[in-house]
């Protein structure tokens, strides 16, 4: 299912411009023709950084549980993603996600990956509030968006 950037602002419980920006950047990169592997790499890096920021604070089990819940929420639209996490896993299984993303088209991988991030973000914001979520993840997502945009522009420079 293609991911519509507009749908983020309609469906999310709470959202920040940074999250939408990163998700939008992913989708644009896919539109530019980035393949699923490149998209998967970007998404896995994002999860790695989110995990690194949150696990010391709320515990790796809590991060893994929220991750799994997020995948379950988007499971109807992206069933290929919801099977990538064990029920009682204590760690976020990034490799399983990378593998699942890489098997999709670039656009589908970007849409599914962005939806998973957004679902996780909204769950967290619903639990600890958008303000604290922004405080904990805001700069990470900003940096991710910046990197994503840089990546996109450098790719364009190479192949106009």
């Amino acid at each position: 299912m293609p991911f519509a950037v507009d749908s983020l602002s309609k469906t999310s419980l709470s959202k920040t411009m940074t999250m939408i920006g990163f998700a939008a950047a992913l989708v644009r990169r896919a539109d530019d023709g980035a393949d699923a592997t490149a998209i998967a790499d970007a998404i896995v890096v994002a999860w790695q950084e989110i995990d690194a920021a949150l696990s010391p604070i709320i515990g790796q089990r809590a991060v893994a549980a929220l991750y799994r819940r997020g995948l379950s929420i988007i499971g109807q639209d992206y069933p290929w993603l919801s099977d990538t996490h064990e029920d009682v896993a204590t760690l976020l299984d990034r490799e399983a996600m990378r593998s699942a993303l890489a098997q999709q088209s670039g656009a589908e991988a970007a849409a599914g990956g962005a939806a998973a991030l957004q679902a996780f973000h909204d769950l967290l914001a619903g639990l600890i509030g958008p303000g604290l979520t922004e405080r904990l993840l805001g700069s990470i997502l900003e940096n991710l968006e910046r990197s994503e945009n840089l990546e996109r522009s450098s790719n364009r420079d190479i192949s106009p």
């Binding site: 696990s55 010391p56 604070i57 709320i58 515990g59 790796q60 089990r61 809590a62 929220l66 639990l127 600890i128 509030g129 303000g131 604290l132 922004e134 405080r135 904990l136």
Partner: protein, 498 residues
């Protein structure tokens, strides 16, 4: 010049707690915040942390097993003191669940040490420490290991110049837990449950290096966080004394005839008990007292403990409240403690610089107290009167008194001896009319009238008339006419009937 070390006291940011601690928390102390589940330990720890943490003096809050950090963050941010901007800047939450689950205390200690070295915090919190202790209890030597762990932690934190707080559920304070020995400070939170009432209490069992206020101090948790209602320091009462200096001067109660009966007005700083049956005019008298103060440029505070306080105020008082000359303490909070009430009144007295305080009524006040304090009402009254005397205010209290006619009493609480002045109001029956009489029963260290004077209540307040010299047996409620011809200087006509 002294060569002794000077211990800095940290202001905790918890209203009332610094008074109980006698100046704040000693810097670099190793403290235990203990108590049963739900008594406010984590809230207290957070409130102190948010008050004290700065980028130069950052805090680390180690979360161990127990309340999941995500839920702790969810609920703690409901309090006003929780500042999102402080997170990851001056406050760092660090979860050590995995290390604790291993059961290896050395692993936990190493992780804590690594984080402390990395962030160089001035404040360290471990919540819940009981989880650490439980996780370590795998064999018979666990107590030794725990003691070793606590000592190592204490040494580590003190050398890193971190004021430390271990937060934990300790259900049995008599159990000699090694943590109790090592800790410099032991703050115990309790919940006293009686019937349907719950009162939160805090006790500073130990605080090395400084004398704290002994006893159980009530506290309340609101959206603003914890507020401790510190009792008035006995030294302050002794030092300030209030009325000993001011009793020489007198103030008007707003009724010239009553002033005369009091021997020339009310000595400043005195406490007055106005006792009488329902509807006899006690509240009207307190209104005259407050209104007279306002007329003289004084401010006042009225503490009401009635179900519908608006109904008992007359127009004059309502106007004075409106323009800020009188502050109202109208606490509808359930399960009040005497210290909370004193704190509420004292805050308003100090805000306005008030000289007159009215408590209307003691009966309502007793009902407003949590059941746990009601058996000690006389003691509560003493503390209230003492605290207000220390503020230097003149306080007028009303007391509902059942008119028994066979039993001459002035207070249903046996509290009459606590007050400096007693004014009693009674109903009497004369010529098929229910009339009111008033008398000054007591004015400490002062001459006063012993007359029983008729009075009436009109739209503009109390009017005091003369004595019923041709009647006797007034206090029995049904006076009879005296037969002496010379008794002609007063009659029921001196005062308007009701």
């Amino acid at each position: 010049m002294t060569t002794k070390v000077a211990i800095t006291r940290l202001a905790t940011g918890v209203p009332g707690l610094d008074e109980v601690l006698n100046g704040g928390l000693p810097e670099f102390s190793f403290n235990l915040i203990a108590g049963t589940p739900g008594c406010g330990k984590t809230t207290l720890a957070h409130q102190i942390m948010f008050a004290l943490a700065t980028p130069k003096r950052p805090a680390i809050y180690f979360t161990v097993l127990g309340e999941p950090p995500i839920k702790m963050l969810r609920y703690q941010q409901q309090f006003d003191f929780f500042d999102n901007e402080a997170i990851n800047r001056s406050i760092h939450f660090i979860n050590v669940t995995e290390e604790t689950l291993s059961g290896e205390l050395d692993l936990v200690l190493r992780r804590i040490a690594a984080e402390v070295e990395s962030h160089a915090p001035g404040l360290v919190f471990v919540d819940s420490f009981r989880s650490v202790a439980r996780a370590a209890q795998t064999d018979s030597s666990s107590n030794n290991r725990l003691q070793h762990f606590v000592q190592q932690l204490g040494i580590l934190m003190t050398s890193w110049q971190a004021t430390t707080f271990l937060v934990g559920e300790y259900l049995d304070e008599s159990n000699p837990n090694p943590v109790f020995t090592v800790a410099d400070g032991l703050i115990w939170l309790r919940q006293s449950v009686q019937r349907n009432s719950v009162v939160r209490k805090m006790e500073i069992i130990k605080m090395r290096g400084q004398p704290t206020l002994p006893g159980l101090h009530t506290f309340r948790i609101s959206n603003a966080g914890i507020e401790v209602f510190a009792p008035l320091d006995a030294n302050v009462v002794a030092r300030d004394g209030g009325r000993t200096q001011s009793s020489a001067s007198r103030m008007s109660v707003g009724l010239p005839q009553l002033d005369a009966m009091l021997g020339g007005g009310l000595p400043r700083g005195y406490s007055v008990l106005v006792a009488g049956p329902s509807g006899s005019g006690k509240s009207v008298l307190t209104s005259a007292f407050l209104a007279e103060g306002a007329r003289c440029g004084e401010t006042g505070v009225i503490a009401v403990f009635e179900q519908h306080p608006d109904r008992v105020r007359n127009r004059t008082i309502a106007a004075l409240i409106e323009n800020g000359q009188i502050a109202v303490v109208d606490s509808r909070a359930p399960d009040l403690s005497i210290d909370e009430i004193v704190s509420l009144i004292r805050t308003q007295v100090r805000r306005l610089g008030a000289s007159r305080v009215v408590i209307d009524s003691l009966s309502g006040f007793e009902l407003a107290l949590a059941p746990t304090f009601q058996p000690d009402f006389r003691e509560s009254m003493l503390r209230l009167v003492t605290a207000l005397a220390a503020e230097g205010v003149t306080v007028m209290m009303t007391s509902e008194l059942e008119d028994r006619y066979t039993d001459l009493r002035f207070s249903p609480y046996g509290t009459a001896f606590l007050t400096d002045v007693i004014i009693v109001q009674r109903y009497i029956e004369v010529e098929s009319r229910l009339l009111r009489v008033m008398a000054v029963v007591k004015v400490r260290a002062s001459v006063h009238s012993n007359e029983l004077r008729l009075f009436s209540i009109r739209d503009d307040g109390i009017h005091i008339g003369g004595m019923l010299l041709d009647q006797e047996g007034l206090l029995g409620g049904r006076p009879t006419k005296r037969r002496m011809a010379e008794c002609s200087s007063g009659s029921a006509k001196d005062a308007e009937p009701i």
